[in-house]
């Protein structure tokens, strides 16, 4: 399920914003899909590498050295992809007591503030990560020979995407849509 197709706006959307909503849903869906593809690719390749390594080690007494290093690039990307999916579906873990007791217009105002906060925080982290991204260009993983910046850039991708999704959330909230209406099982990892 993508965020775009499982939630319908409470109202038909305010006139001025209605033209934006189609593209916003499309872009949210696109980010969700990018997350799904990244997650699937990272998870399956790490699974294959580690399984082959275990089998080789027990069957032939010699593993593949880079199997222990591949996660240094792929785990950050798995996380980034997963984060984008979770954010696109408003599925990040939150304490929602206040948002649950509010309803109607007040709830929309709160949702607006939350999305604005997420936007500001995501953008400041994206912005402040530049020196680290620059520094990581000089680091190369020992056995794989890949530059660390390929892993660090997942942070930029994740926070960039979260900032974008927050902007989309703002637009959807302005149009009267309740973007926090969701399944409790999606918002917990217990």
């Amino acid at each position: 399920m993508a965020a775009g197709d499982n939630k319908s706006p409470q109202t038909g959307g305010k006139g001025r914003l209605r033209p934006f909503l189609g593209p916003v849903r499309g872009a949210t869906n696109l980010l969700d899909w990018s997350g799904r593809i990244i997650v699937f690719a990272c998870l399956t390749s790490m699974f294959a590498a580690l399984l082959v390594n275990v089998v080789l080690r027990y069957a032939f007494g010699a593993g593949i050295a880079w199997a222990y290093e591949i996660h240094a690039i792929l785990l950050p990307w798995l996380v980034a992809g997963g984060l984008v999916i979770a954010s696109a579906r408003a599925g990040n873990i939150s304490v929602t007591i206040l948002s649950d007791v509010l309803s109607g217009r007040r709830r929309l105002v709160l949702n607006f503030m939350v999305q604005a906060t997420i936007f500001v925080i995501s953008v400041s982290i994206l912005w402040s990560s530049q020196p680290i991204l620059k520094a990581s260009q000089f680091q190369t993983l020992s056995t794989l020979g890949i530059k660390q910046v390929w892993g660090y850039s997942s942070i930029a991708f994740a926070f960039g995407a979260m900032a974008l999704l927050a902007v989309f959330g703002l637009l959807r909230t302005l149009s009267g849509e309740d973007i926090t209406d969701r399944d409790p099982a999606l918002a917990s990892l217990s």
């Binding site: 997350g35 799904r36 990244i38 997650v39 699937f40 990272c42 998870l43 399956t44 699974f47 580690l50 399984l51 275990v54 027990y58 222990y68 996660h71 240094a72 785990l75 950050p76 798995l78 996380v79 980034a80 992809g81 997963g82 984060l83 999916i85 979770a86 579906r89 599925g91 990040n92 873990i93 939150s94 304490v95 929602t96 007591i97 206040l98 709160l110 939350v114 906060t117 997420i118 500001v120 925080i121 995501s122 400041s124 982290i125 402040s128 990560s129 530049q130 020196p131 680290i132 991204l133 892993g151 660090y152 997942s154 942070i155 409790p184 099982a185 918002a187 917990s188 990892l189 217990s190």
Partner: protein
């Protein structure tokens, strides 16, 4: 830096900002106010993703997702039904025993509450169980999953405390079984008071034989996990990878319900859960940086030692803090937030760190079915259609059982240290 951090974090969290962003907002503001380079945030966010043992989390989630996407659930319920269905309130017992068995496949209470709740609550209601009681059994018993290995919260605790994940898994079995038994007793008492029906498996032993034969490959997974870990065949991360291979084999060869679509869905959902839990681990890592820079854990440990004369008082205080935090915060987030501080305190009073880990998970798992924020409570009430209030009233005996087990774990080291 600590004071603005704490205020901004709590303020944003109360406003319903996602917990990770609330943490990051607090850290960013604290660093900025103190004139420290904010680049440290990106650096610390990245650190947990470089940990090889961390890989066990997505792979155990994936193994559980794959196993549960198939027909295993039906066989499991039928097997439990043969074992305990004959008692009064038999379907209630099935819910508890099912959770214990389910716990060996899945590391997550939410997966358990959703899968078993959807399978059992409608049938229980049809047999005359009050909706609130059905929801109560499901929401409490599903938390047994996080004690029977594999367990995501125990892996997280192992990572923050440096305690061996193998030791934690082994130590989780007994508390998990104790909770399960205690909840069976609670169900039995209520069933006799309300005269709830027996629900034996139709077809008796013949039916049981076919069901158990089908369920056994999946039920052997915890034996496989603990066996390979305990007898040194592989490290926790490798075992989590082998558990995925095992789940693929079982659903492909035994249940024959493996499809590309199923694998895709399981993988995408694993990614979503990994992302949502890892961002909290990553954001806590930025908080730990600020706290360590200001020596907060050490000072807190010194303060606790000065404030409480005896170790048992410290343990009681830790438990009370956890019950309060757990009432509001999701289990993994609470483990990550409190873990590093509690480990410092535990070491100061000579508490075994494996015991502390089990104490934390048993305690914080209670929070999953307490208001105001309780995930299995919400899921189960939603499935049964009971109000939160009715479910909470029916939960009272289960709270009692959980508190007794918690006290035993907290004060009888022999239950968790072998």
């Amino acid at each position: 830096m600590t004071t603005p951090l704490v205020w901004i974090f709590f303020g944003l969290m109360v406003l319903s900002v996602p917990i990770a962003h609330a943490m990051l907002g607090g850290v960013a503001a604290a660093l900025w106010l103190d004139g420290k380079p904010m680049a440290v945030i990106a650096q610390r966010l990245y650190t947990p993703t470089q940990s090889f043992p961390m890989l066990a989390i997505p792979f155990f989630i994936l193994a559980g997702n794959l196993m549960m996407s198939g027909k295993f659930g039906v066989y499991l319920v039928n097997t439990a039904r043969f074992v305990v269905g004959n008692f009064k309130g038999g379907l209630g017992q099935v819910s508890v025993i099912g959770s214990v068995m389910f716990g060996g496949v899945s590391g997550s209470a939410v997966a358990d509450a959703t899968a078993l709740g959807n399978a059992l609550i409608p049938v229980q209601k049809a047999e005359g169980y009050p909706a609130g009681f059905s929801a109560a059994i499901n929401s409490a018993s599903s938390t047994v999953s996080v004690l029977i290995p594999p367990s995501i919260p125990l892996i997280l605790y192992g990572l923050v405390s440096g305690v061996s994940i193998v030791d934690l898994f082994v130590a989780g079995i007994l508390p998990g079984v104790m909770l399960g038994l205690g909840m069976c007793i609670a169900v039995a008492v209520v069933a006799h008071m309300r005269n709830l029906p027996r629900s034996p498996l139709a077809g008796g032993f013949t039916a049981f034989r076919s069901q158990i034969l089908a369920a056994i490959p999946a039920l052997l997974m915890p034996v496989f996990v603990i066996g390979t870990l305990r007898f040194g065949i592989a490290t926790p991360t490798e075992v989590s990878v082998m558990a995925v291979a095992y789940a693929l084999l079982v659903s492909g060869l035994v249940y024959r319900d493996l499809t590309f679509g199923g694998i895709w869905e399981a993988a995408v959902d694993t990614g979503r859960m990994t992302g949502a839990v890892m961002i909290i681990i990553m954001a806590s890592s930025t908080i730990q940086w600020v706290l360590t820079a200001e020596r907060v854990p050490q000072e807190l440990a010194e303060w606790v030692q000065a404030a409480f004369a005896e170790p048992w008082m410290v343990i009681l205080a830790l438990n009370i803090v956890m019950l309060i935090v757990g009432a509001f915060l999701d289990l993994p987030a609470a483990v990550l937030l409190l873990g590093p501080l509690f480990v410092t305190i535990g070491q100061a009073i000579g508490l075994d760190l494996v015991q502390l880990g089990l104490m934390m998970v048993v305690n914080l798992a209670i929070g999953l079915y307490t208001p105001p924020v309780g995930t299995t409570l919400f899921i189960s009430s939603a499935i049964s259609g009971a109000s939160i209030g009715a479910t909470v009233r029916a939960l009272l005996p289960f709270y009692g059982v959980a508190i007794v087990v918690l006290l035993l774990i907290s004060y009888v080291p022999a239950l968790t240290i072998y």
